[in-house]
Symmetry: C2
Subunit: 370 residues, 2 copies
């Protein structure tokens, strides 16, 4: 717990990155920001002193001044070398969703650089990368914190890790892991009251509100949920080989799956989606007849080693059915918690709350490195 | 992050203490258990080597053998001196609910001994003790983790701390913080279906099931909830002077409050409680007429610096109304999370889940001390 300075490199200044930098600027005992990389430019505190640091709140102004070193985009290896040569422990915050940077985490970790990130890709790709990341962290005595890869700032991974580390037996994990799909089903098939909205109209509304990806099929294909489930299942002890190694129910009608992802393709998809409204209405009505509602969930049966992503029906008075807006909900069923699960619920997407998970992780890594 | 050994003293082998020791025995990288104190006896690893350690799973057998030092109950100062003289960093786990031991935390902390505890008393008593604890921790460069003081193993305090530390503005905290009162109201006034059970019958049922304290008035007076609210409010930045400095609605009819807490007094209380059933039925019916249910909640309005504990009504489709069994629920309303709060829900009492919060805290303290 000595108070040697800690050096910080940050990659990405998109929505999450910008929110993170504004939180970083207000953190007490923040590490020294010495590298800030965006796609076109990298700012660096000049070597060999790694000083002056980059002002987190005001990096754009500082970038225009003479005190910082500026280069174009740097390869990950060079970022790693720069941080590893800093006169103290270093941390990389990866605020991108770049699989290529994630593939380089082992390079950073072996050099003793800890990783904090909301980037799902590294933890939900091939199992070999997962293993390489944690073996490299052990080798480099570096830390890896990635709370925001599932549920953004919600305490999901930390809770699962605590359950496992203290010897509880996690039997089942179930939840709504996509804010977009949460909104779609809470609107299409509300648990209280009723809705006459057609499925295609709800998708169009979500698209207009900016709740979907530019191409709604990137939400409807279930891959984002599958990546989150992969991470949870691995933390629960299952060796999931990749996010396409278990059943994923896509909500994209197969007839529309091959439309191009161009603007024209997306427009065509939205135009033809109403042709499939009867199909979704029938799924909703079947659930309704049993007094239930349909939701798009991910679930992990730990004992049966069964992971799946898709539609399921729920009692109207269940916590999952009662979800509001675009909230996520995650239920942990464990031996100690018995019949009623431990539940975490709230916004699971958005720049500010995702950045909060990153900042909270950063605080914990700094506390452990000091 | 050097791996010097860490020395552990544990006080209390009641329900939580026993569950904790069984979890400790299975922790990887557990600190060395060198002191175990119960009311009548203290076991110590012999000085000066602080070895052999006490086997956590099998302390009772070891206590009967010759390898450990045995004494009667030791004053807190002597426990602190013993731990402070260990050849490495030390941690005290206080698994009691003893206010007197809690008042000695500053003695431990100033000597550099970290504290992990589910004991609410030290954090919910006079504000001067709270301040003394954290000032002493800073002085001794020691850590204080007390997750299980609110919501047992649920991630309540850690979530609040993360929200505050990353600069979110917590506007309101609201929830059901007592498993006993949760059960009483979920049974008396369920959100789905209906119940004809009289209030006194529900209290009697809870008492028979072991859900209440031996004297149910210790639950019905609201003080346990008030202590938890005091802790949350202080972590949210409010200088609450003591748990009786804000309104607490007691569910003990004033006519029965002065009955002695002897077995006879308790029996008399249970016998006369039905006289007040009409009063509780009227509260329930008034809520019902508005389509609502009544719940016993604690709430903190941070901006208005307003803390209160008592009965409130809730919409039937709200998360609080839909609570099951004896679960706790805690909602954090913050600027970043907007209209829908961040919610944590699940069992908030019981030896295993309380001990889980203690064990998880211990892991984090060990990680920071190493």
């Amino acid at each position: 717990m000595s108070a040697s300075p800690i050096y910080l490199g940050v990659v990405g200044v998109g929505g999450v990155g910008t929110a993170f930098l504004s939180q970083l600027a207000r953190l007490p005992n923040a590490p020294k920001l010495v590298l800030l990389a965006r796609s076109s430019q990298t700012l660096l505190a000049p070597t060999p002193a790694y000083s002056p640091a980059i002002p987190a709140a005001d990096w754009a102004t500082a970038a225009a001044g003479p005190s910082l070193t500026k280069t174009g985009a740097l390869p990950a290896e060079e970022i790693a070398s720069y941080l590893a040569s800093a006169p103290g422990r270093a941390i990389l915050v990866d605020n991108t969703s770049d699989i290529n940077l994630a593939r380089q985490y082992p390079t950073f970790l072996k050099k003793g650089i800890s990783i904090v990130t909301p980037n799902k890709k590294g933890f939900s790709d091939d199992l070999s990368l997962w293993k390489d990341i944690f073996a490299s962290a052990a080798e480099g005595k570096a830390l890896v914190y990635h709370e925001s890869t599932v549920g953004a700032g919600l305490p999901v991974l930390s809770t699962l890790k605590d359950l496992v580390a203290t010897g509880d037996e996690v039997t089942r994990i179930e939840g709504v892991f996509s804010g977009t799909l949460s909104f779609l089903f809470n609107t299409f098939a509300p648990a209280s009251g009723s809705s006459d909205a057609k499925w295609s109209a709800v998708v169009a509304q979500a698209k207009e509100l900016g709740y979907t990806e530019p191409d709604p099929r990137d939400d409807l294909n279930g891959m984002d949920v599958a990546r989150k489930l992969t991470i949870l299942a691995r933390l629960a002890g299952l060796e999931v080989s990749s996010p396409d190694s278990f059943p994923i129910e896509s909500l994209i009608p197969s007839e529309l799956a091959s439309l191009p992802s161009s603007a024209d393709g997306i427009a065509e998809f939205m135009k033809r989606l109403p042709d499939f409204d009867a199909q979704m209405a029938s799924i909703k009505d079947t659930a309704e007849k049993e007094g239930k509602v349909v939701r798009y969930v991910g679930s992990i049966d730990v004992a049966a080693k069964n992971v799946k992503v898709g539609l399921q029906t729920f009692e109207k008075d269940s916590a999952i059915a009662g979800l509001k807006g675009s909230d996520n909900i995650i239920s942990f069923y464990t031996k100690r918690y018995g019949a009623n699960p431990l539940i975490v619920q709230g916004a699971g997407a958005g720049g500010d709350v995702t950045a909060m998970g990153v900042s909270a992780d950063l605080i914990k890594v700094v506390q452990r490195l000091q």
